[in-house]
Symmetry: C2
Subunit: 566 residues, 2 copies
């Protein structure tokens, strides 16, 4: 039988390293069987309960309170352990990192280390946005490790940063490597590429994703020029990939970077589209791993899509060993919307899959996402992919592979729409299908082209040389009508994606490349280990002796902040 004793410290703030070390110190005391030192959130209380460390005494503790719990063999040991808490906390302080003078504010820290261009913030989430804002006001780039920061704060911080040409990595940004120096959690990796190879730059909305890719590149013999984190929510619609866009732009301009890797959990579609459009404008290969997002292709222009982190590293390293860049020929950008009139349901569906990577807005009666749903199948809307073999079109009517009537009517309708810039048709040959689809479709295409010569009509011809319609004869008729003919759907889709891609986002004033070209000197607010790590890597860093405003009392802190403004 053990005795569990609990102490509550109301509204007490301690660095989480201090709490961990206190817990360990308690565990080392005589008679102590287990110990827990945590903020009294419901989740933490549940975890204590699992270790049989939650008693009724913890009931009154609120999330901002500190819970110190000791389980011991007897009452005396437990009481003795709790009695030593203050002494243990003091001992920790005196053991802390060697730094003669500890500035109490960011301002004085910045004055003490004028070379600092970075501020690392790892204070508890509810205070983190305030500290980050101070750092931006001092003209600093921000590495925002803290999580539990509100989305609204993230949007506001990134907006401010963008206007000033500053970076905010995070919130919840675990890792970055700038000019060979790791911020937060970072593996030590090769920076200089072997002779004849190029270095790889990484943009990641994911911490361990970045670490796994960087480590694997290193173990493959490759080099990492820089690795820039963005925080896990950067590619959400509200945030709009503000930081990822800046980071991509930086690496595109960075002469040390030959290949770029872009890693993120599934991004919001509109954000992904714009970020990929930006990546397309870059004359370096970009390896894209939107984890869990169905890839539109293996390779599309200079974009290389991969399925896993390991594969991202492997493909990037292979590309880094190739000489020169990979811009290649781009088809000219075209105006107007795509109107795809399909007889093949799966061909329509695959078209949505491929084109959604770069076209926006995209609608279909064969949609992949709810947002793509075409409200009225009789009326196109933006870029539109129409499956004319869909159930709504085939009641009492032959399939469009047998009867061209519906397609001929729709072709005229789309050609009459001034918003239409390109019409795409599939023509599926073979047994059972119409005996001569080109015989009906090609004259209609020729008529459209005569009336609007600037309107392109593209045809994907699915069939073989053995098919009864004759592949070559069908093709010749479409050629003569002025259509552009493809025999592979993906070939047509890639050309369309490149020609009609959405415009890249306006990412504000560019971030000065200097940020990558100098070793980062930094102010650190929060977890001391990050400051120690910077120094161990040879970077200049200073620890700020931060305390929550008004000792963590948020109401009081609000009043103080308002007074300060006046």
């Amino acid at each position: 039988m053990t005795i569990v004793l609990t102490e509550i410290r109301k509204g007490a703030y301690y660095d989480s390293v201090v709490l961990m070390q206190l817990q360990r110190a308690l565990l080392g005391l005589p008679g102590v069987v287990d110990a827990g030192v945590v903020m009294a959130t419901p989740a933490n209380k549940a975890l204590l309960a699992q270790s049989a460390l939650l008693t009724e005494s913890a009931g009154p503790a609120l999330p901002d309170d500190l819970l110190i719990v000791v389980s011991a063999a007897d009452q005396a040991s437990a009481m003795s352990a709790l009695a030593q808490v203050d002494a243990l906390l003091t001992r920790r302080r005196s053991n802390a990192m060697d730094q003669d003078f500890r500035p109490r504010s960011l301002e004085s820290a910045a004055a003490q280390l004028p070379a600092a261009r970075w501020t690392l913030v790892s204070v508890p989430g509810r205070f983190a946005a305030g500290v980050a804002r101070q750092a931006l006001d001092l003209g600093q780039h921000v590495f925002l490790y803290s999580d539990n920061v509100s989305l609204a704060d993230e949007v506001a911080l990134k907006q401010t940063a963008r206007e000033r040409g500053l970076l905010v990595m995070g919130p919840d940004c675990g890792t970055a490597i700038v000019h060979g120096v790791g911020l937060g959690f970072a593996n030590r990796v090769r920076r200089e590429a072997a002779a004849g190879q190029g270095a790889i730059g990484i943009v990641a909305a994911s911490g361990t994703g970045l670490q796994a890719v960087a480590s694997r590149i290193h173990s493959l013999g490759g080099a990492v020029s820089h690795a820039l984190g963005t925080g896990g929510r950067d590619l959400k619609a509200e945030v709009g990939a503000g930081t990822a866009g800046q980071a991509l732009d930086l690496l595109a301009r960075d002469p040390e970077t030959r290949v770029i890797v872009l890693v993120s959990k599934p991004p919001a579609p509109v954000v992904a589209t714009r970020l990929l459009a930006q990546a397309l404008t870059c004359d370096k290969p970009v390896v894209v791993n939107f984890i869990g997002h169905p890839p539109p292709a293996r390779v599309l222009g200079n974009l290389h899509f991969v399925a896993t982190l390991d594969e991202a590293a492997e493909v990037a390293q292979r590309l880094a060993t190739l000489p020169g860049t990979e811009a290649g020929d781009r088809p000219p950008r075209r105006a107007g919307f795509l109107r795809g009139l399909f007889s093949g349901g799966t061909l329509a569906y695959e078209s949505v899959l491929v084109l959604q990577a770069l076209l926006y807005p995209l609608h279909s009666n064969s949609a992949i996402t709810a947002e793509q749903h075409l409200v009225d199948p009789l009326k196109s809307q933006g870029h539109t992919i129409l499956d004319l073999g869909g159930d709504e079109f085939t009641v009492g009517r032959l399939h469009p592979m047998m009867d061209n009537d519906l397609r001929l009517r729709r072709l005229k309708q789309e050609a009459a729409d001034p918003e239409t810039g390109l019409i795409l048709l599939d023509v599926v040959l073979g047994e059972g299908a119409h005996a001569d689809p080109a015989g009906e479709l090609a004259p209609a295409i020729a008529e459209v082209r005569r009336a609007r010569p600037e309107l392109e009509v593209w045809v994907v011809l699915v069939g073989t040389d053995l098919d009864p319609q004759g592949l070559a004869q069908q093709r010749a008729q479409f050629d003569q009508a002025g259509a552009v003919v493809f025999e592979r759907l993906t070939e047509a889709l890639h050309a369309i994606a490149l020609a009609l891609a959405v415009s890249p986002p306006d990412s504000g004033p560019p971030v000065a490349l200097e940020v990558l070209q100098t070793p980062p000197a930094a102010l650190n607010v929060g977890v001391e280990a990050f400051c120690e790590s910077l120094r161990a890597q040879g970077a200049a860093a200073i620890q700020v002796d931060w305390r929550p405003p008004a000792a963590g009392n948020e109401k009081l802190a609000g009043i103080l902040a308002r007074m300060k403004k006046k």
Copy 2:
């Protein structure tokens, strides 16, 4: 100014080819400007309206009624055109396919062509299930082209078929190629592989998907042994891939097939998992294109995942040129659930992504689908992937990359659970992380292994030889503790997927291979073009002169059916 006249034929049934030909014939009459001949569904009325062919006269027409609309230069021409409708319908009849005697029922058709093993059904959706049921009762495999068939009917038909070792391809199955003969829509493709190569078998829950893959294989110089359709809904949870499972099994046993391609729109997760598990048991390479489903890998065992139809054909043809099969070494199957305890959020997420292909049920606090959501993060459930760096675990607590306390407790908890068969840990090294994670984790692993030697503990080590913790030293500690150590996440995940894959579904009595080894002889009910096409390909086929029961009156048909049963 044109005159639009409308005729309504109440509850009239005509083959949709007849309707198309009537419309064309009307268009060819003097003075006729446009014409429409359609069943009066709301969708068809809307389409008529777009062509200015809908007048108030069509108002009373119901979906089962036929609408005949003529737009002409003057009243006389319009009236004259409508007056010729019956004559045009009769002319069409006499022009129809040459067949001396037209059986009125499936039974008499089967008696007339006793070699028939297949019935093709393309009657309107509401009658299709009934015809298919009759065919199954005659011991026939069914190619069910009709769409607009209810899901309940599909489930019931496939259940019956499975019990009897019969195939039901469809509903909404557009295409198949059996023993070189196309059913429905089908491209003519090479059947015999070139010397040294193998032929490719296709299973597709998608019509034009199958056609695109088959055509592309042909144009790459490859051969298609058989191509089996399943209908677009076969991989939905309710249907459970009944037909796809049978088809995969057939092709796995077929000596002519060296490589299998599996194409479908995104399947239901549980269905995909079981079908892939079945594919894993096959000793042929299987190329998987679940269109729009994020692939777990490029290659996993004998499964090759691709992004597009073209790529499916290209990868399959490349594999078909390789000698022999590809079973390779399989790790032994293991019992129990996986418990993944991650410090890296993205590593946890990628693990869910990869493992969801083959493990079921799978739960996580870093879920990809709603179904995977882990209700209580403190308690594992089935296969569980836990991100211990998730927001719910890090309030006032150091990240698990810095503090192992939470993981050590959870490791003990999982080891005490008899359902746990394998524990997976990631250990991320580098700046900022714990100075010696193995120093704390390895002893705990050793203790677990001592207590339960059959319980495996696997460790994925993310780091480099330059990292402060020392990759080799960390690895040595884990090795000594009896853990299996990986340095690539995907390597560990693939081994887990193969060892813990769900059991393949029980697919009932196997379909006799004979169905693939003889040219299909068929009864055709519905679109005559399919019968003509079979004969043009040299197959025996007979057209059934089908009429809807009780002339399409469903109430009366129901009464008749009940009377027949008695």
